[in-house]
Symmetry: C2
Subunit: 204 residues, 2 copies
């Protein structure tokens, strides 16, 4: 594609660097930016510049935060003896959204993935080991996706931490609430039968 | 959704202002930006800032250009007596990509659309009328999409310009090269039969 303007081409190229955005979509987005009030594009440009300079990670649980220690880690009303280990900040947001979990988090920043060249050293695993050694932790909940990489990461973490007097758990796998049995995939169905729970009226 | 950081939230909000990008996609993109080398996000931010300040439109045909008069309008090898009227710069790029059209362009900047509150005054129609009055124009090709708005715009332009000694044409509508007849929509098929062209071997 030949662009009639270098300024246009540069903007399209940079937008097309984002995952899932091709050259065509990038061009559509950039032309949209040119047709809307320029203040909105200035705001976007500044927000991205701010993102690079202004983003901080909680030094304790490594979630994205505007402070050195995030609101969850600082909150005395939360149970800091339970750590929910997640991959990234999206998982923290999803769990926080339910309003049901009152423990603390530890954000790994990814999963161990030899295919993508991500080893344990690039994740915040040592920081989790330090937390476990320093703090009174009762339970660690592994809330990672049940992919090969997720399972590998959980297994690695478990081996690193298993000497301590901690209960380990993973989030329950099974059919989603409202899912039809006949459409469930085999692996999920097998798992949901294997890990069946005693029926009690009080749960409903 | 509750964001753990205002910086993050602002970036997500601004990205989600773009068409076709929801909050979830915006968050995914922003987290991707945080995981890649920050120089790339700085480059994106600067390209967008540059877009606002540095973009220019050709004063003659209104396409996006880095100069006051674009390369096509300035090119003495092109036939400036033929103007191809298009909606936006993407159409110019698509036609230029074929390498077959040697005339000039006029970029309207949109279509007349009462539904979206776009009247003739917001488009570069007066500028086209001025070109026709000042220059020796032999032919005007309407290359607008065949939607209600496109047809309305063509009709309006034709009424504005029809007193002059100019040939008017629209790009051919019909089955695409390689299209199967049985899958063509009715309107296109009817049109392709109505506007059939004499068979000549030399065209192949």
């Amino acid at each position: 594609m030949n662009y009639p303007s270098k300024v246009l081409e540069k903007a399209v190229d940079e937008m097309a660097n984002l995952p899932g955005i091709g050259k065509r979509t990038a061009l559509r987005l950039v032309l949209h930016m040119l047709n809307r009030p320029s203040s909105q594009t200035v705001a976007l440009s500044e927000a991205l510049a701010q993102l690079v300079n202004g983003i901080q990670y909680c030094q304790h649980c490594h979630t994205i935060s505007d402070h050195e220690i995030c609101e969850i880690c600082e909150n005395p009303l939360r149970d800091h003896s339970i750590i929910c280990v997640v991959e990234d900040v999206r998982d923290v947001m999803a769990i926080e959204n339910t309003g049901q979990f009152k423990g603390a988090y530890h954000v790994l920043g990814g999963k161990i993935s030899p295919m993508e060249g991500i080893g344990p050293g690039q994740l915040t695993i040592q920081s989790l080991v330090d937390r476990v050694n320093k703090e009174q932790i009762k339970e660690i909940i592994f809330a990672l996706s049940s992919t090969m990489e997720g399972d590998t990461t959980v297994f690695y973490l478990y081996r690193q931490l298993k000497n301590s007097l901690i209960e380990f758990s993973t989030i329950a796998r099974g059919l989603g609430i409202g899912d039809e049995l006949e459409y469930a995939d085999e692996a999920t169905l097998v798992r949901s039968i294997q890990y069946r729970v005693p029926y009690s009226e009080s749960k409903f």
